[in-house]
Every structure is written in structure tokens, then in C-alpha cells.
């Protein structure tokens, strides 16, 4: 019999009932993070003193505090938290301590959350396995010979190993939903413009969105509604009211329509993944939802579109790492140009260089129309596919990933095959729509499988309510091999 997970709901009720203190919760969390990090390499920094000090201060305040009072959370190392490092998994930002908090950090703190540390990730969030971190790969808590997914692999592993109930990551093409699926937890990517990116280190600015991991749909939704909303420091955030997602959970699913793009469930999908996803579709029928066929005719082009747009934007965003204002600088350059070149050569890893090269190529003189402009046009077609699909359904259901977690080293020599692990997720980033990955059982060799629901713009209430309904009916009973003691 597995003990109940220490969800936000459970921690909050123990705190308000007085059976534990924020300090005790923080001490237990930090202890688990320290104990398991040798096996998982999920954290790049564990802030024991800061977390305990913060928790003690919360215990000292009578009443007060927000929805996350005393709740421990972890933050991906590409999001700024004052007093902690922000390396983005890169040598070029080794030791960098940002002088300000990201907006999402401010909002977590205002809600009473206790940030316990910064999590490992693929360098500058570029990767699908977490093997591109300059600080070593993260291990999957279900099987430490396998990847946790990426790029937010450290946050995913920290939640899956029950160190924290929730964590922040970031998505450009699936970097939260994909590791959530591979680690058997929930991952939510909100609508583009839902959450401020102020203090999130930029990768592909027309795609980037701060995203959330949770042990349960409820945990992820609670954190999302805490960090979402307009921020005048990020001009892309929309002035759209933030609903209370959690209060809309429950009730039956009569009248709900789940769209399934059948063409995406054929070739290239692992047999176990297909079987689990088909079971999830049946589960929705049993819960009273109607399952309808939809088409996303241009979905097959999304990886090609994604790798043009994301690399083009990255080549521009990463121009700022030049050794002048912060971060690493190469030693003894003879002039300014050499300082730029050698700083970047010595500071960036192979995947980041590959993407900067690709992005520079597609934006270079004479190629803009053929690549970037073409990709932005096909992106319009992908967006239209979604708008058409949502005429017929409330949410589109697909596998989150084509396979369960793969072995460390399995895809490192073949960038294109690595890129294809984002085939189901990156279309939501291109269309700007929200998506949530939910665990739906295990493969025959005991690895988690996830499905995702994608909704229309600002459709988080719909997809989160549908995800919660599935999760209540079919919670994942299995637990990873590596996890915090009860």
C-alpha cells in the first residue's frame, strides 16, 4: 500500500491544522533534496539556510500568507531568484547571481511559497533529455539509467521523487510536458501571454512560456493560478483575468467533447504508449465525455517549423553572452572580437552552438524568406488547424511523447532523432495554446506514459478540469524507485 503523496493540499492542511510547521516541512524537503541529489543530479543549488530562514519567518507571522503558505517549491535554473544562482545549465553563466527576482518568483514568494533550490536543465533550455547540461545529466527517478526528459528535467525529477510537490520549469517546445510524461507527473504549459517571462532567461521569445510541474493536476493548477496574469514588465502578457482553476474542478463530463487526431496515433508511436493513450480515451468515454475525430493536417510539419523559429530566435537572444557585462569571459584575449569568439566558444556547449549556427544560417542574407518567413507562414497553418479543431471539440488529446523515457546516451549523437521527441508537444507552442500532460499508466517495462490535452487560447480552465477528472478516476498508483522517504 503506498502512502498518500505529500501534495500541496496535504501540506497545507497539516500546516493549517498545526500538526507541522513550515520549518519542519522545509527541513524535510531540503534533507530529501540533499540525500537524493547524488543519485538524481536534479538540483544545481539547494538553499538550505535560505529555505529554513524563510520558513521560520512564515511560522512567526500569525495568520496571513497566501495559497502556497509554507509550500516548498523548486525553480528551474533559467528563472531568476534573488540570492540564488541562475546558470541556465551553462558554463557561460557559471556563478552568475541575478540582481533581481523574476515576476513568477515574486508571485510565489507573495503567496508564501518556500523556494528550496534551483534545478538542473539542458543548457539554455535546449534539449529533450537533460543531457545538454554543463553540470551533468539528470537521472530519471523511475530508472536512473534513463533520461528524465528535458529541458526542465531537474524540476521534473524533483517532483517525481517527491522532494517537492510542485516546481517551475519553462517551455519553448515541450520542455515541461515532455519530462512530466517521462517522469509520471503533471506538467502544464499555459497559453502564450498567460504568465510573465520577466526574469526568465530568453530562448525563443515567440514561444517561451513559464510552465508548471505538479504531483497532481490540482497542485499544478494552484501554482499556475498563483503566477499567472498581466505584468507590465512583459509586454506579451495579456490583460485577461486569471480564473480560479481549482474551484471549477469536479462535476461530471457530460457534454464535454474530446477531439482525437487519429492520424497522429499511427506510425512512430511506441506500442505501449499507444495502448495507454487508447485506454485514456476510453476512460473519458466512461466519464461521460464524447470522443470526436479531429484533424491537424499540418501537425507533421511542426518540428521543421519549430527548429527554424526557435533557433532563429535563439541565435538573436544568445548574442548577449559576449563576456562583457556578466558571466564567463575567456582569458587574455588580444582584442574585442577575439574576446567575443573565445568567450562563446569556451562558454557554450555543443547543442547551443549547433542551434546558434542553424539560427544564424536561416536568418542569414538571402535565406530569410526561404526559411524563417516560410516557417512563420506554416505556423499560421498550424494555428488555423487548432482553431478548426476547436470548432468541433473542447480539447485535443494526443500522446505527450512518442516513447517512454529513453536511455542516457541513446540519442546524443543524432540531434534530429532527439528533436523528434517533441513531435506532439511543440505544436501547442507554435499555436500559442495551452497544454497539460497527465500520467496514464506504465509501459510493459515499468516506465510512465503520459497523454496531453491541448485547449483553445485561454482554455486552461477546460483542460485542467478534464485532466483532474481523469486523474481522480485513474490516479497513477505506481511510484518511482528513487523517492523521498515517507
Amino acid at each position: 500500500m503506498t502512502a498518500p503523496d505529500r501534495t500541496i493540499e496535504l501540506i497545507s492542511s497539516e500546516l493549517s491544522g498545526g500538526s507541522t510547521s513550515a520549518r519542519a516541512v522545509a527541513a524535510r524537503t531540503v534533507g530529501a533534496a540533499e540525500r537524493l541529489n547524488g543519485m538524481l543530479n536534479a538540483f544545481l543549488q539547494i538553499d538550505r539556510e535560505g529555505a529554513l530562514r524563510r520558513a521560520e519567518a512564515l511560522d512567526g507571522e500569525k495568520g496571513g500568507g497566501g495559497a502556497l503558505r509554507g509550500v516548498p517549491v523548486a525553480v528551474k535554473d533559467n528563472i531568476c531568484v534573488r540570492g540564488m544562482q541562475a546558470t541556465c545549465g551553462s558554463r557561460i553563466l557559471a556563478g552568475y547571481h541575478p540582481p533581481y527576482d523574476a515576476t513568477v518568483t515574486e508571485r510565489l514568494n507573495a503567496a508564501g511559497a518556500v523556494i528550496v533550490g534551483k534545478t538542473n536543465c539542458d543548457e539554455f533550455a535546449m534539449g529533450s533529455s537533460n543531457e545538454n547540461s554543463a553540470y551533468g545529466a539528470v537521472r530519471n527517478p523511475w530508472d536512473t539509467e534513463r533520461v528524465p526528459g528535458g529541458s526542465s528535467g531537474g524540476s521534473a525529477a524533483a517532483v517525481a521523487a517527491r522532494i517537492v510537490p510542485a516546481a517551475l520549469g519553462s517551455e519553448t517546445g515541450g520542455s515541461v510536458r515532455q519530462p512530466a510524461a517521462l517522469c509520471g507527473i503533471v506538467g502544464v504549459k499555459p497559453t502564450y501571454g498567460r504568465v510573465s517571462r520577466y526574469g526568465l532567461v530568453a530562448f525563443g521569445s515567440s514561444l517561451d512560456q513559464v510552465s508548471v510541474f505538479g504531483l497532481t493536476v490540482r497542485d499544478a493548477a494552484l501554482v499556475l493560478q498563483t503566477i499567472a496574469g498581466r505584468d507590465e514588465r512583459d509586454a506579451t502578457t495579456a490583460d485577461v483575468a486569471v480564473p480560479d482553476y481549482v474551484s471549477q474542478f469536479g462535476g461530471d463530463l457530460k457534454g464535454a467533447r474530446i477531439g482525437v487526431p487519429r492520424a497522429l496515433l499511427g506510425e512512430g508511436v511506441d506500442a505501449d504508449v499507444r495502448a495507454r493513450v487508447e485506454e485514456a480515451i476510453d476512460a473519458y468515454r466512461s466519464l461521460g465525455a464524447e470522443v470526436v475525430d479531429v484533424e491537424l493536417p499540418h501537425a507533421g510539419y511542426s518540428i521543421a517549423v519549430y527548429y527554424i523559429i526557435a533557433t532563429a530566435e535563439a541565435s538573436s537572444n544568445l548574442a548577449r553572452y559576449d563576456g562583457v557585462r556578466y558571466g564567463f569571459r575567456a582569458e587574455d584575449p588580444k582584442d574585442l572580437r577575439e574576446m567575443y569568439r573565445r568567450t562563446r566558444e569556451e562558454g557554450f556547449g555543443a547543442e547551443v552552438k549547433r542551434r546558434i549556427m542553424l539560427g544564424t544560417y536561416v536568418l542569414s542574407s538571402g535565406y530569410y524568406d526561404a526559411y524563417y518567413l516560410k516557417a512563420q507562414k506554416v505556423r499560421t497553418l498550424i494555428q488555423r488547424d487548432f482553431l478548426d479543431a476547436f470548432e468541433k471539440c473542447d480539447a485535443v488529446l494526443t500522446p505527450t511523447t512518442p516513447t517512454p523515457a529513453f536511455r542516457l546516451g541513446e540519442k546524443t549523437d543524432d540531434p534530429l532523432s532527439m528533436y523528434l521527441s517533441d513531435i506532439y508537444t511543440c505544436m501547442a507552442n507554435l499555436a500559442g495554446v495551452p497544454g497539460v500532460s497527465v500520467p496514464c499508466g506504465l509501459s510493459s517495462n515499468g516506465l510512465p506514459v503520459g497523454f496531453q490535452l491541448m485547449g483553445p487560447h485561454w482554455g486552461e480552465p477546460v483542460i485542467l478540469r478534464l485532466a483532474d477528472a481523469y486523474e481522480r478516476a485513474h490516479p497513477l498508483a505506481a511510484r518511482p524507485r528513487v523517492m523521498a522517504a515517507e
Binding site: P99, T191, I303, A304, D335, R354, K377, P415, H457
Partner: protein
Amino acid sequence: MPITESDIRKIAALAHLEITEEELRTLAPQVAAIVAYVEQLNELDTGSVEPAIGGLTPEGERTEAARQDRTRPSLGQALALEQAPEPSHGHFRVPKVIAGSEEKENF
């Protein structure tokens, strides 16, 4: 169009990357393979399609980019320089930029 090692050298120079001979040999075929893959987009006729603008769709255009134009505290010199590799007298120090006549080929 096939991508050659000389193309890769040119792109590296544009991107301010000093790549090694070894990197050149691995990057050239990898970039060529990725470019060949993305060229599948040419199958699609997009003559009458408008490009997507940023991440925004008609549904997502409800952003109000303008904000109140008022002064507010900025980072300040001390904090802005705190993480610099070589701060000096309130500035970011960098190697020599202005070349003598015999060094002009660098610029």
C-alpha cells in the same frame, strides 16, 4: 542546397563562434541534415498565407503593451556592475577596441 564546411565557417564568423576543426567536421553534416529536414516545408504552397506574428494568434492578441510612462528606480550602477567579469571605475572594461593602422584588418 548542400551545406559545405566553408558555409559553416562563414556562419560561425557571423555568430561570433570560434569553432574548432573537429567541431567543423561534426557540425557540417549535422546542420546539413537538419536543413534538409526542414526543407520539407517547401511541399506546402503558402503563397496566400500571412506569416504568424510572434506567438500571437487572432485569439491571443489581447495584450496591452503600453504602460504608464513614469520614472521608476532602475538597477543602479553598483548592482549592474556586480556580476561583470572586469568592472572598472563604474564601467565595463573590455580589451582594446580602437586599432592602430597596422591592426585594421581585425575590424
